[in-house]
Symmetry: C2
Subunit: 328 residues, 2 copies
Amino acid sequence: MEIADLAARIVAGERRALARGITLVESARADHRAAALTLGEELSGRGEALRIGLSGTPGVGKSTFVESLGMQLLGEGLRVAVLAVDPTSARSGGSILGDKSRMEQLSRQDGAFIRPSPAGRELGGVARRTRESVALCEAAGFDIILIETVGVGQSETAVAGMSDIFVLLLAPGGGDELQGVKRGIMEIADLVVINKADGDLAPAARRTCADYAGALRLLRRRTGDPEGIPKAMTVSALEEVGLAELWAEIRALERFRRESGHWARTRAAQARGWFEEEVRRGLLDRLSRDAGPAFEDAGTRVAAGRETPGAAARRLLDRLAREGGNGA
Amino acid sequence: MEIADLAARIVAGERRALARGITLVESARADHRAAALTLGEELSGRGEALRIGLSGTPGVGKSTFVESLGMQLLGEGLRVAVLAVDPTSARSGGSILGDKSRMEQLSRQDGAFIRPSPAGRELGGVARRTRESVALCEAAGFDIILIETVGVGQSETAVAGMSDIFVLLLAPGGGDELQGVKRGIMEIADLVVINKADGDLAPAARRTCADYAGALRLLRRRTGDPEGIPKAMTVSALEEVGLAELWAEIRALERFRRESGHWARTRAAQARGWFEEEVRRGLLDRLSRDAGPAFEDAGTRVAAGRETPGAAARRLLDRLAREGGNGA
């Protein structure tokens, strides 16, 4: 299929074309990579969704949350795409989205599109492919894109860097630990949501919510921040309680950020950051291709204290310069 | 002066030679840079200090703290060097250490060496020069190196990345905000110290300490972390109260980390990380030298949505490869 044709079908809303486009984006083959870049250019600027990042460790009920929130949004006439960034997942099973049956209801809806995390063990690569998939979903006319992560390594930062609004999902807990969520996450969350505020867990959910509201006050109060302190809220995805209030908060924050110019600035900065990262990655890829073993060896010598970092780097760079740059 | 001679004088403990070596390290001139790398190699592996990172915003009494702690350590027969990482400071005045008179007593002692932050507005450069200065101070036989930062931008992360133990210094406060300290700092502190626990402020200091102890429990409890939760403690640098207890904590943590192997692993990983960073910086320096305007222009087009990040990066990389790499 010609790329221009594929692009037209994606814009026309053909789900199979979208899935095929994402497969192209996810491929590591050089010819696919070139085609994916062309596809991205064809689709550039075609539609704009609200991109919501969502982080939560296994056990917080994320699938149920996405399913409930997604169904509510479909009920409002919105089209919802769900993507994932999970560098540890093999495509087959490990991913929270690998098993679509966890979101059985949502996955059957016409207005919904669910795609598991691309396979890969290196966050940079997984994040890049998800970023490009986001652009495809936007071109396909989705209104809301939920980008979820299990919070491994730096994946929250990566997801926050491709989101307009970032939500941290937690389960009721003793309030004495951050439930295995990665460092720094409390610093980037726009909203903290305590799920499972139902049945026996409701009191614990309220306590956890109060604990996190306190922690957010402690960590996030900034003089003159017009957005104020991020809110902590409870929901029950299972009983579909609190989702409307959560959605109202998200929309209010979206509106505020659009009107204040924060939105456009963030998107521009994200795009520029992605470009710079692509260039850096490209340069480092060439480094490891042109001087991989030498780079590794020098790192080992430096770690063992047999060479200073500065001198080892200078030697490697000099050698690269002498040999000249040639290649892709 | 020959570099070998300068190195010998630094190892012999000549303060003027050390100061001169650091000036060489801080210079941006290409011939100085080459000489500094040679000096670093000459001195490599000569002595090992305990490197303590210290972060605190202006107003927490950091100078008094460093002075009091430093005097106490000198009293124990230890030699103490104080360096700083502050990318915003002009050499002349802005730096917390620019005015040595703030540490009048310490700066007059034979066993102490105080050096303000190198000038520079770019953290990477400032951090690199401080890192190399640390190595010089170790070769000069200092036992303790305090590396302080005012916590601007990512400077705490940079300082933590060159420290064995990282201390966050705070003043008594309402406990309702993190006193302007940067995001994520609570996640990297090994000890949180509330200064000014004296006179009228003593009760507030104790409250603040309890607040932060709670926050540390919330944020830092990790199942199976053998080091446990980082401690929060009060001190009065002015009245020299609590410093012995603080020092005992630091030494206990040092001992634990040395015995557990954490110490050696961290140092090796830091050295490898610095090497890789030097190589990356070198490659990016070449990029901006060989393709600076094109890189800037492409970034602006991407930010404006006129080009996709992936396609723009590919075009720039292709152009660089075609033009070839030449020149150190």
